[in-house]
């Protein structure tokens, strides 16, 4: 039932409403609303009950193992939420004068510094509100850099075919054209194809390393050389740093600009779709172009250190603002708190145990006879199973496997991404899962393969134990019903 269907005309959540004021005069009639908006009219109890029950219809990290590749569904410590929601932060107006906002600014400055150290970049801006906006900022800076040098011909961005969809979409949004670079069967970028692709039109290359295929790009130094020699810049899609934190730094690999999804590696919650943060870091030469705001620390003779926002006059070459205020401070605070929990030792351990868990599951998958997309390599924080054999032999799809997993109490891995691998499951366990969860998942996968052989209809009809059975997506797109207008 929809919340609208609990509605009764005239019912109100009285304790929440200021007492009715006479509508002030002075507003011309034609600027006023004629009819009340048809929002639901429910009591507070009805709303609480409805949304509490709705929440129970979700899978989530707090309730299920959620090995969704490229998404890093790790534990979101509750303390990060509690502490980020202290009244001193929640009640802070974004335009509060810096002197009254020192506690928050100190956190932001520290966060910038820790991100620089963790990635080997010279400076960070926390402005981007998600990975895609971080990419936007990064690519826009690449554009601004070339322009600032009068190098206006560089209108092409190179993107490997395994890349996340946001990479090409971003490049286009920034006004570039996109050229795809193929990937070899072993998961490395096709270096020859890359060499042929670069030229005076090359603005840069967007790369994820480890790639979305779950392997480390072994030729990274050669790639960096090719791009830099062609006059391009190297962009690191660091949506996911879980695989390398404390082990190798993008700056040391030769990247000029990077974004990092704090809502993945740094454990801010995904919230059913967002919000996130795509903090963006740069090498020294791109620093002037960083998006605003950026926080700086100043030694103030009177009261010791103090912090302030840099403005456009401090950074005249900045690509500008990406949001009305400061990105997503609540997300940034959660990431900051998480990083203080981890500290330098804890960060290395993230990479170590995320990698251990992925390699363990990959070994188990192999042992149990599943086909790996890329064999005989180390997994990074994730790895890929291809179910092409099962699809061929039993007429079941990766999607069927995914839906059946739901029935068994596991969230499905990422399916059909990266696009190169047929019938694939991209599996990312993260470091915060215990071995029992990994084993339980592999048992489930094995059980499903047996079912695929013996009772494939079980897979086709899955899920059976959830609030709804398989949903008709085609109908949803054909007979658009995007808002309730009464029954």
């Amino acid at each position: 039932m929809l919340i609208f269907e609990h509605s009764s005309p005239g019912r109100k959540g009285a304790p929440q409403s200021p007492s009715a004021e006479a509508m002030p005069t002075g507003i011309p009639e034609n600027l006023l609303r004629k009819n009340s908006a048809s929002l639901p009219e429910v009591s507070e109890l009805q709303a609480v009950r409805h949304y509490t029950r709705l929440s129970q219809k979700n899978f989530s990290i707090d309730t299920e193992f959620y090995p969704l590749g490229s998404c890093t569904m790790k534990y979101n410590p509750r303390a990060c939420n509690t502490l980020a929601m202290l009244p001193g932060f929640l009640d802070a107006h974004p335009l509060t004068p810096d002197e009254q906002n020192q506690g928050f600014l100190a956190c932001m400055f520290d966060l910038q510094s820790m991100l620089c150290e963790a990635t080997g970049m010279a400076a960070f801006s926390l402005a981007p509100m998600a990975g895609a906006q971080g990419e936007f900022a990064g690519v826009a800076m690449i554009g601004a850099y070339h322009r600032s040098r009068g190098d206006d011909a560089r209108r092409e961005i190179l993107v490997p075919d395994a890349a996340h969809g946001t990479n090409p979409a971003t490049a286009v949004m920034c006004g570039f054209t996109v050229r795809e670079i193929p990937t070899l069967d072993n998961g490395d970028v096709d270096l020859e194809a890359l060499q042929q692709a670069v030229g005076p039109q090359t603005a840069g290359l967007m790369l994820t390393n480890p790639s979305t295929l779950g392997v480390f790009e072994r030729n990274i130094e050669a790639i960096a050389r090719v791009i830099h020699e062609a006059g391009g810049l190297l962009y690191y899609d660091g949506a996911n740093l879980n695989a390398i934190l404390g082990k190798i730094r993008p700056g040391d690999m030769g990247f000029d600009v990077i974004h990092s999804n704090l809502h993945k590696t740094f454990s801010t919650p995904h919230g059913g779709g967002g919000p996130g943060s795509g903090a963006v870091g740069v090498a020294e030469r791109l620093k002037p172009f960083l998006p605003l705001p950026v926080v700086t620390k100043e030694a103030d003779t009177q009261r010791g250190e103090s912090y302030r926002y840099l403005t456009a006059s401090d950074r005249p070459q900045s690509i500008g603002r990406l949001s009305a205020f400061m990105g997503n401070p609540g997300v940034l605070l959660r990431a900051y708190i998480y990083m203080r929990f981890l500290g330098r030792e804890g960060m290395v351990r993230v990479a170590e145990f995320a990698t251990l868990n992925a390699n363990y599951m990959m070994a188990e998958a192999k042992r149990r006879g599943f086909t790996l997309a890329i064999d005989n390599r180390r997994a990074s924080h994730e790895f890929i199973i291809t179910l092409k054999n099962e699809a061929r032999d039993y007429h079941v799809s990766a999607m069927d496997f995914a839906k059946r997993l739901l029935d068994l109490g596991y969230h499905a891995p990422t399916t059909y991404f990266p696009l190169l691998v047929p019938e694939c499951l991209l599996i990312e366990p993260t470091e915060s899962e215990a071995r029992e969860a990994l084993d339980g998942f592999m048992d489930a996968l094995e059980q499903i393969r047996n079912e695929a052989q013996e009772t494939p209809e079980l897979l086709h009809a899955a899920p059976q134990t959830l609030p709804v059975k398989r949903l008709d997506e085609v109908r949803a797109a054909r007979q658009l019903d995007l808002a309730y207008k009464g029954r």
């Binding site: 959620y66 979101n76 906002n101 454990s267 960060m347 251990l356 309730y484």
Partner: protein, 470 residues
């Protein structure tokens, strides 16, 4: 080891299964000389007790003054139930609802959000959110360029009464795509845009016109007249709204003559509907449009459908617009949105209902009238504009606003937004805001403080500069 459950024995067994001697072996594809050193600049880890102490200290450093500052972020009452439910693990720690059957909670809620937002704006379609109001305006502009097939110019008219940071953000984001943003000046007595001024600015083919209601000065624009003119000239109208004000003001879907169907696209920041000010976010960008433009919409959209048994259910739909399907041809690069804030906002709207929002909006307005009446009774304080307004008003002061604000903050009052940088032509101008949260006592405190600041000589101001604030 923080948040890592592995015991020594488990590690050994797992390495055995893998066939590796140590965890470090798992990184042997990384060239040795590239390995990172210890990250000295990052402090050592802390336990929760220590982190908690640190964050309480930091939060305590933030001064909590009485807030009369608005300018795009507003302190409203939020029912306690809203965030208690929103932060339930099942909403908080879920991913984007790609596995629909295991995400009906988030999906149905988002459908309800879309329904509420279209009801509030009187628009046909709402998406599931953009990042914030400013970036939402930028996407609305990009969308208008795709949607207005009759226009080739890629020229957009933006009055300077639109929030300056929204205009800056729009510039950053549309910059790469050869789109021209043309400023339209405002009328100095009303604080609103006059149709004549728009016409003057408008040479030939224009793709879209942006109109903010209430505008950045808190003043109400002549939305009907301007919308009609735009439509008559094949110009799309992009409304920028405060969704709380929309509870009492004519919604964008009803701007202008009925036969034109109102504004074409509506955007704005959802913050006044359930998001705390929180130093600037997370908020969310609302984005609505006419049915005809739904395929040009960026971002996620949830649709209602049925399952195998014909039972109602919800899915992400029209995904062919999005980057993960269409890649370089997507309507936008947006992927992660502001889902959790939308969750809060949906619960907020459900609990408040239309009546609650209307009463809140009316209380904001009434409070602003009270405050402005008292302030303008003070010598050296007068209203800048005479147009009708919502809950913000521009005041002209006899002293520089920055100086006045310094004086006020020393009395624990966040007195408003200094307009002198963005609008130097207005002189010593201050934008003051009141929400329903400002009680009569609060208003009195502001008025008393302002009296003192306005009568004090400049040297007095300097003297007390370092007093401890409340």
């Amino acid at each position: 080891m923080p948040f890592i459950p592995h015991t020594g024995q488990e590690i050994t067994q797992m390495l055995d299964t893998i066939g590796a001697d140590s965890i470090d072996d798992l990184f042997d594809e990384i060239p040795e000389h590239l390995r990172a050193a210890v990250m000295e600049a990052i402090p050592q880890g802390m336990n929760e007790m220590e982190v908690s102490r640190l964050m309480h200290q930091r939060a305590g450093l933030n001064t909590r003054a009485l807030c009369f500052l608005g300018a795009g972020s507003y302190q409203h009452h939020i029912p306690a139930a809203v965030w208690e439910i929103t932060t339930r693990g099942e909403f908080y720690s879920a991913y984007t609802p790609y596995q629909a059957e295991a995400s009906q909670g988030t999906l149905q809620l988002t459908y309800e959000y879309q329904s509420m937002m279209t009801a509030l704006t009187a628009m046909d379609v709402s998406n599931a959110s953009m990042y914030d109001g400013a970036s939402s305006l930028a996407e609305a502009i990009l969308m208008s360029v795709r949607a207005n097939r009759k226009s080739k110019s890629r020229k957009i008219l933006i009055p300077t009464t639109v929030n300056p940071v929204y205009r800056q953000t729009a510039h950053t984001i549309v910059n790469g795509q050869q789109i021209e943003l043309l400023d339209v000046p405002y009328d100095e007595t009303t604080g609103t845009v006059k149709l004549e001024q728009i016409k003057q600015q408008c040479e030939g083919d224009i793709t879209a016109l942006v109109l903010q209601q209430p505008n950045f000065f808190g003043c109400l624009e002549a939305v009907d007249e301007i919308t009609d003119w735009a439509h008559e000239n094949n110009i799309l109208v992009i409304a920028v709204i405060n969704p709380l004000a929309a509870a009492i003001l004519k919604p964008p879907g009803e701007w202008g003559a009925e036969e034109h169907g109102g504004a074409d696209i509506a955007c704005g920041d959802g913050q006044p509907l359930g998001a705390p000010m929180s130093a600037g976010g997370p908020y969310y960008g609302l984005l609505c449009c006419k049915q005809a433009y739904v395929r040009q919409m960026p971002g996620r959209i949830v649709g209602r459908t049925v399952d195998l048994d014909g039972k109602e259910g919800f899915v992400l739909t029209l995904q062919a617009r999005e980057q993960h399907i269409r890649r370089s041809k997507a309507t936008s690069n947006i992927c992660t949105n502001q889902g959790l804030v939308v969750t809060a906002s949906t619960i907020h709207m459900a609990i408040m209902g239309a009546t609650g929002l209307e009463n809140t909006a009316a209380a904001c307005l009434a409070n602003n009238n009270k405050l402005v009446e008292c302030l303008t009774a003070i010598d050296g304080v007068e209203k800048s504009f005479d147009a009708a307004h919502f809950h913000e008003t521009v005041l002209r002061l006899k002293k520089p606003a920055a100086e006045v604000l310094k004086g006020l903050i020393q009395k624990g009052i966040l007195g408003g937004y200094d307009l002198s940088l963005d609008y130097p032509e207005l002189g010593n101008a201050l934008l003051v805001c009141t929400t329903e949260m400002r009680s009569q006592d609060d208003i009195n405190a502001y008025v008393e403080a302002m009296k003192e600041v306005m009568t004090r000589s400049d040297s007095d101001l300097g003297l007390v500069q370092d007093t401890v604030l409340c």
